[in-house]
């Protein structure tokens, strides 16, 4: 066990650090009304400097970097929180690894699709969830029917994040309703400018509109945009979901120990800085333990990976823990401000980021698999506990109640 860098790692870290110091774009120079627009110039700069998606093969726009180098890069990059490019993670962390796995034998396709993901020129939307299929994704109904060398897609997706900005979509469809629900699915990717697609933004509980409804009316998708075999869609989708769950260090809306510690040094209890209060300290310590524990858990997994071992099941706890813990921190931060805790001053980003985060955080416990689904996954695949009873497992989809 050694948390220090080897000489090569130290040299790599120095290189990363120097590059960031020279190239990082100051927050004041970021422009645009959403994070995709704001961060695009930064991604471009990363890509041109050879620092985007560094673990990918060179021919697809990466650097062939090792997992440990990626950890080091992420650590160095985290010193610039305003440049966190999580808005591009659907393409970079979910779609790309899935394509690399299932289109391995089509390098020319990958050469077309992957570099613009790395450079931020093309973003993707994950078209999985439907009104009738969220946690129970395999209950989805959007149909794809064969039409010559293409598929005709009809149906509706929902909660599709950043569909408006996306160039490409990655969709799971039902191609065979006569077999049990997990067996009749097929994955495709599609150009979001295809005729027949209608995107309707949904106003979210936090007042923003990042996710959307997406409607499909006879949308033609060539068969050569199929990912995996016909009927293999469940496996492909699950692969992408597991990358989604691994997309380590996702968004936390800036709510972390350091932010809370800073706040607790500024606000007062009985005329003294709140951080001197024993109860406040106990809460702070608990948050620190979760944050440090998740960080160390991720590092253990990456360490295993870099030795060619299976990363193990430890990281499956990330998603189960992080949302609830971040929500607690945000609520506690608002409490520390007492009456001022409800004031939402939108004039600056900093002034009410705890308030804004508080409104956004409920999504952390739902998106990418709810806390409850994550707990099921840990219980079943890590602890080996019995699976949930499944009444619909062996029944053809079109014979299920509501399955038409």
């Amino acid at each position: 066990m050694d948390f220090n860098d080897t000489p090569e790692e130290a040299a790599f870290r120095q290189k990363a650090r120097n590059w960031l110091a020279e190239n990082a774009i100051p927050e004041s120079e970021l422009e645009g009304d959403n994070l995709i627009h704001r961060h695009r110039p930064w991604l471009k700069r990363l890509y041109e400097g050879g620092w985007s998606c560094i673990s990918w093969p060179k021919r697809y726009g990466g650097q062939g970097a090792s997992p440990i180098q990626e950890v080091i890069w992420n650590q160095e990059q985290s010193h610039y929180p305003h440049l966190k490019t999580h808005r591009f993670s659907v393409g970079q962390k979910m779609v790309a690894p899935t394509l690399m796995e299932f289109l391995e034998d089509r390098p020319e396709t990958l050469e077309r699709l992957l570099p613009p993901i790395a450079s931020g020129d093309e973003t993707w939307v994950q078209l999985f969830s439907e009104p009738a299929g969220g946690s129970d994704l395999a209950a989805l109904r959007t149909r794809a029917e064969r039409d010559g060398d293409a598929w005709l897609v009809n149906g509706q997706k929902i909660w599709s994040s950043h569909a408006v900005e996306a160039k490409w979509g990655f969709i799971v469809t039902r191609t065979d309703p006569t077999v049990p629900k997990h067996k009749g699915l097929t994955c495709l990717y599609l150009d979001m400018e295809n005729p027949g697609i209608e995107i309707r933004p949904i106003k979210q509980a936090n007042g923003e509109s990042e996710f959307n409804e997406v409607f499909f009316a006879d949308v033609r998708i060539p068969d050569n945009q199929r990912v995996g075999q016909v009927g293999q869609g469940w496996e492909v989708a699950v692969t992408m979901l597991s990358h989604e769950r691994l997309a380590m260090g996702g968004e936390n809306f800036g709510v972390d120990y350091e932010a809370l510690r800073k706040l607790a040094g500024e606000v007062c209890i009985d005329g003294r800085p709140a951080i001197e209060n024993a109860q406040v300290r106990a809460k702070l310590a608990d948050f620190y333990c979760v944050e440090a524990g998740l960080r160390a858990t991720t590092n253990r997994a990456i360490s295993a990976l870099s030795k060619g071992k299976n990363p193990g099941s430890e990281t499956s706890i990330n998603n189960m823990v992080i949302g609830a813990s971040t929500q607690e921190i945000a609520a506690f931060a608002l409490d520390l401000m007492e009456q001022a805790g409800i004031v939402l001053d939108e004039s600056t980003q900093e002034s009410s980021f705890f308030q804004q985060a508080f409104l956004s955080i409920p999504s952390m416990r739902i998106a990418g698999g709810t806390d409850e689904i994550q707990a099921n996954i840990v219980a079943e695949s890590v602890l080996g506990l019995p699976r949930e009873p499944r009444v619909d497992k062996n029944v053809p989809f079109n014979e299920l109640p509501g399955g038409k």
Partner: protein, 372 residues
């Protein structure tokens, strides 16, 4: 960077687990709850023969000179087995105190004996109830003699000497003193009834007992005590996660065997989620313990933060796992016969032994403030 144990360390762990499965079955722990012996001598002999008491003692003092990464592996297994032996007192505290602050003469005299098991040491800190602070130390040292009252001391009934926290009446400084416990005229011990009788506890009354200061070198003595506690905290935390994982495994295994309403109880989501949360807490604590083990082993400046983080999360994980393990067992979980209560008792002992969760939460925040 490498966040993993070596193959040799993993092998050591397997060997330790096997040894303890044979030499320290749960029935042995259970019977230790009501026999009068301060510790299980036969098990202790086995542990000494395995070389565990000698692990981190340098070879020049008769030890094996292994690293702390080996010691944490052993600690984890001792926690898993709820071993009724004075290992934490003797190894994490007395041995460590000597290594940190002992004079050459003290080290030459005691370390070989600690290594070969001919001596057991312990550590005496608490005076009365409540959190330790140097201001609360009334045990006094002057002219080579020590007098005062230590309210709860682990394993002193088994030990040949005790590293005692006392105040020098000349300098008024609080420091560490080595006191041999065979001074019948000047020391009296009173055995205490405790929550976990598998480990012995007593109160000690010093009445002009011979004592030697640990010279400590250049370190300020209050700092020295904090350092000692930080180092011990890492090792205690590893015992705690050993026990926490054992309780999760017990819970899982039982939930697969036991049926209710025609189903395995482990198929009910209330229990599945409970165990998923046990797993999450244990894993976070374990990962924090990894980091702390590294910090301990390399004497990294991060040690105070890392140790407190490991300690707080391991204490919380073990309390949660040990109580919910009883819950998952239902009625049998509340019987003397089942092993759940062994961990539940030990969890409390380990939680307060070198400062409670609340105390270490406070230390953790202080350490992050200092690091910032």
């Amino acid at each position: 960077m490498n966040f993993d144990f070596s193959e040799e360390q993993v092998l050591l762990q397997e060997q330790a687990r096997k040894f303890l499965a044979d030499a320290c079955p749960a029935d042995l722990v259970r019977s230790a709850l009501h026999d009068d012996a301060p510790y299980n001598e036969e098990l202790w002999k086995g542990i000494v023969e395995m070389g565990w008491t000698a692990a981190t003692i340098p070879e020049e003092y008769g030890g094996l000179g292994l690293s702390y990464l080996e010691l944490v592996v052993i600690a984890e297994e001792l926690g898993r087995a709820v071993a009724p032996v004075p290992f934490s007192s003797s190894v994490y505290l007395a041995t460590e105190a000597l290594l940190l602050a002992g004079s050459e003469e003290q080290k030459n005299l005691w370390l070989p004996k600690l290594a070969d098991g001919s001596a057991i040491g312990t550590f005496a800190l608490a005076e009365g109830r409540g959190r330790y602070s140097p201001d609360g130390i009334y045990t006094g040292f002057s002219n080579g003699k020590i007098s005062g009252e230590k309210s709860v001391v682990s394993d002193a009934l088994a030990a040949s000497f005790c590293i005692t926290v006392a105040r020098d009446s000349n300098s008024n400084e609080v420091g560490l003193y080595l006191v041999t416990l065979n001074q019948d005229q000047a020391i009296s011990q009173q055995a205490l009834n405790t929550l976990d009788m598998s480990r012995s506890h007593s109160s000690i009354h010093f009445d002009g007992a011979d004592a030697q200061p640990l010279p400590a070198g250049s370190t300020d003595s209050a700092c020295l005590i904090d350092q000692l506690l930080d180092r011990a905290a890492v090792l205690f935390a590893w015992e705690q996660i050993g026990s926490a994982d054992a309780t999760l495994e017990m819970a899982r295994d039982y939930s697969l065997e036991r049926y209710a309403f025609g189903r395995q109880i482990g198929s009910y989501q209330a229990l599945k989620h409970k165990m998923a949360h046990m797993y999450a807490k244990n894993t976070l604590a374990r990962s924090n313990c990894y980091y702390a083990a590294w910090a301990l082993n390399t004497n990294a400046p991060e040690l105070p933060v890392a140790a407190a983080t490991a300690r707080v999360s391991a204490t919380q994980a073990l309390f949660f796992s040990s109580k919910e393990n009883i819950q998952i067992h239902g009625g049998v979980g509340f019987t003397w016969e089942y092993d759940c209560h062994l961990h539940y008792r030990r969890a409390r002992l380990l939680a307060v032994n070198i400062g409670s969760e609340f105390t270490w939460q406070d230390k953790l925040v202080s350490a992050t403030q200092q690091a910032a």
